[in-house]
């Protein structure tokens, strides 16, 4: 499916001030249209890798190309357009507490300057797809944990991004909801979105036989076309 590379890392290191390396000598490639799982124990560097990709953190050294652009040397004014092409499900959701669910989901569209009518239509569609059409007018803090997580997923998907980075997008969801959300992400992938999902959930890796990149202590310890390799551990 993939030929052109959308994300390329060459010997990327990331060291937070006063810490050991969170990412060490990471080299990998994600092709356009791919669906990749990122796994590894707590603190392995999964979120850090995703943060580097959407320029929330700078790499300490190494080369990191996103959409063919070297983001190690990216100018501040080139960051917003890049981020607008990426949908992110944050591990801690990062919802705006004083905006309704619908307003939260609308932000990526408003940022792009879409007309209010189009925004409303798209938001309604995506909220229905995550089963939150009845919560559109509620505030995030009055939602259950799983509902908040689905709002985060909806916000990431609403703009039909070229690249979707989902950090533990089902950690607060029951098995049925998990399958629903993962099916949504698969559907986006089928429409052409490149997907990277960071997760601990082995059942996901087993159910969706996709390429799995495993990190440990910041290093890529395996990169296989499916879950086979880890099944033994």
């Amino acid at each position: 499916m993939a030929s052109e590379a959308l994300v390329q890392l060459f010997h990327v290191y990331k060291q937070y001030a006063g810490e050991g390396p969170a990412l060490a000598d990471a080299t990998l490639e994600v092709g356009r249209g791919e669906f990749v799982f990122l796994t590894g124990p707590s603190g392995a560097g999964k979120s850090t890798l995703l943060k580097l990709i959407f320029c929330a953190e700078p790499a300490t050294s190494g080369q990191l190309l996103v959409f063919g652009r070297n983001v190690a040397k990216i100018l501040p004014r080139h960051v917003p357009p890049l981020r607008r092409a990426i949908g992110v499900v944050f591990q801690d959701f990062k919802l705006l507490p004083h905006r309704t669910v619908a307003e939260n989901v609308a932000v990526p569209l408003e940022v792009r300057g879409l007309a209010p009518r189009d925004v409303a239509r798209k938001v309604a569609v995506v909220l229905r797809s995550v089963g939150l059409e009845l919560k559109a007018g509620k505030f995030p803090l009055s939602l259950s944990g799983g509902e908040q997580q689905r709002v985060a997923v909806a916000r990431a998907l609403v703009g039909d991004p070229a690249l979707l980075l989902a950090d533990e997008p089902t950690g607060n969801l029951d098995p049925d909801r998990t399958v629903e959300v993962m099916d949504l992400i698969e559907a986006a992938n089928a429409r052409g979105t490149t997907v990277v999902v960071a997760t601990h959930d082995r059942s996901l890796l087993e159910r969706y036989q996709r390429r799995v990149i495993a990190l440990e202590s910041g290093r890529v310890i395996s990169d296989g076309d499916a879950f086979r390799r880890r099944a033994g551990s």
């Binding site: 917003p80 981020r83 607008r84 990426i86 992110v88 990062k94 932000v107 940022v111 916000r155």
Partner: protein, 294 residues
């Protein structure tokens, strides 16, 4: 990306409605600060005019040459003084007054004839400023037969010096107050932005440009400034309506306390415009602080 200026105003209004507490605090701070500054300016100006008016309860004496025609001079003076109270003072009256003013030394006048004193015309001009008094005195030089024009100069000069010093002290204090106002208001708006730094961060993470994030804050700052300034003006006008009649009665002069004198259009403009500028500058500084972070 399409920039929609109107959407910024909409977003600013939404943000204000969303955070009524912060909005109230910001507008309240702007109001209190601008009101105090405006009150200070109004009182400063008013006091200066009042003092001038009160000190300038001016009596101008036009001393005539011995050969002058007193009634004719009085008529000319009345014309030159434009309807003010004019009194002809013949030598006998002048002597009486001099005697009264000398007090314990009046004995020197015993046996003096009134004829040695010049006749004069007195013009009373209550409530005019020193400058006006001077101008009027200059005009009165043209009274036929006028030898010398005198307006309670020693006293007036002294008051003038006093007023000048007061004005400087007042202006210096006003400067400090205006500066303090600016600092306090910008601190408050800065805290308001600080309380919303997560929001700023999240919007940037989903692809907002700095300008897109910043614009509503600036609009908000301007709106809050306008609102605070308008409230300050309203409060000043209210206070004026309440106090001016009593004050005028107590002081005995009304003209310098007229609304257009105490709260002149320039002050209204300064408060509303200054509020808006302050709100804008403070917001810009505050948001900049959080935007320019990595």
């Amino acid at each position: 990306m399409v920039l929609r200026p109107l959407s910024f105003v909409r977003r600013a209004l939404e943000a204000m409605a969303r955070g009524p507490f912060m909005t109230a605090v910001a507008v309240g701070t702007l109001f209190v600060a601008l009101f105090t500054t405006g009150l200070f300016a109004a009182v400063l100006g008013g006091a200066e005019r009042l003092l001038a008016a009160w000190a300038g309860d001016v009596q101008i004496s036009v001393y005539l040459r011995p050969d002058a025609d007193l009634p004719a001079a009085a008529r000319a003076a009345a014309q030159l003084a434009g309807g003010r109270e004019v009194q002809a003072v013949p030598p006998a009256e002048a002597l009486r007054r001099l005697r009264a003013s000398l007090g314990p030394e009046a004995a020197v006048l015993d046996g003096v004839s009134a004829d040695v004193l010049p006749a004069s015309v007195e013009v009373r001009a209550p409530g005019i400023s020193l400058a006006q008094a001077r101008a009027l005195a200059a005009r009165l030089q043209a009274v036929p037969g006028a030898a010398d024009v005198d307006f309670g100069n020693a006293w007036l000069e002294r008051v003038e010096v006093l007023l000048r010093r007061l004005r400087w002290a007042g202006l210096a204090l006003f400067g400090v107050l205006a500066l303090a106002t600016a600092v306090l208001v910008s601190n408050t708006l800065r805290l308001g932005v600080y309380a919303r730094r997560d929001e700023i961060e999240i919007m940037k993470l989903v692809g907002a440009t700095d300008a897109w994030v910043e614009a509503p804050f600036l609009v908000e700052g301007v709106l809050q400034g306008l609102l605070g300034g308008a409230l300050a003006v309203a409060a000043l006008l209210g206070l004026h309506a309440l106090l001016a009649p009593r004050l005028a009665a107590a002081v005995g002069v009304a003209a310098p306390l007229a609304r257009a004198e105490v709260v002149p259009p320039a002050l209204v403009l300064a408060l509303v415009g200054g509020g808006a500028a302050l709100g804008l500058a403070a917001s810009a500084l505050a948001v900049g602080r959080f935007l320019r972070k990595p």
